[in-house]
């Protein structure tokens, strides 16, 4: 079983839609969770970072963590064409330094 899994997409939505991106992980030792946005041939850009179950909001982005289900989500409200990118979830163990990435979900927001 892969450590971190994501639906690779592509996911296409109309501009203004609410986007839901999901990620599951297998190891309960993972305690820190991140969402990154990656444009083509660019470095991952940190969007959200959280270490507790529940919701964290930042502008149009909301990260949701359910440690009991080993499930994390990223919601994007009022999606824009500029949100078109690959979204990577990543996680880290409490005593680890290695950030483990999911394969990413490719999102297209259509004008």
């Amino acid at each position: 079983q892969k450590e971190v899994e994501q639906d690779p997409g592509p996911l296409s939505v109309p501009e203004g839609a609410i986007v839901s991106l999901n990620c599951t992980y297998s190891n309960s030792a993972f305690q820190y969770f991140m969402w990154y946005r990656q444009y083509s041939r660019k470095g991952p850009e940190l969007l959200m970072y959280t270490y507790s179950s529940g919701n964290k909001e930042d502008g149009r982005f909301t990260a949701q963590v359910d440690k009991s289900s080993k499930y994390i989500s990223l919601f994007i409200r009022d999606s824009q064409p500029s949100d078109s990118a690959t979204y990577l979830c990543a996680t880290r163990k409490i005593n680890g330094q290695n950030f483990v990435f999911g394969p990413g979900t490719r999102l297209s927001v259509l004008p």
Partner: protein, 110 residues
Amino acid sequence: EPEVTQTPSHQVTQMGQEVILRCVPISNHLYFYWYRQILGQKVEFLVSFYNNEISEKSEIFDDQFSVERPDGSNFTLKIRSTKLEDSAMYFCASSATEAFFGQGTRLTVV
């Protein structure tokens, strides 16, 4: 805003040659990383570095690879005797808690 910078942005090298990829991490971060992303594939961990030594490395990081922090600001990845399959984007990252990534070096081995 502080950022991780990487040079060069693109490196072309012949198979069997040595390359050095350079990174300047965010200045107050203590953990440094190299990741690799083969075109169309996931971001893969290579190595983490803390307190002037390797703290963790993956199976990918074999004897062909080495890292160094030659001074107080730079962090380098050396690949000896490059192979065609080393062609990828190489990302440097640094962290205090969450990791911040550079824009990457695209390595093409011909």
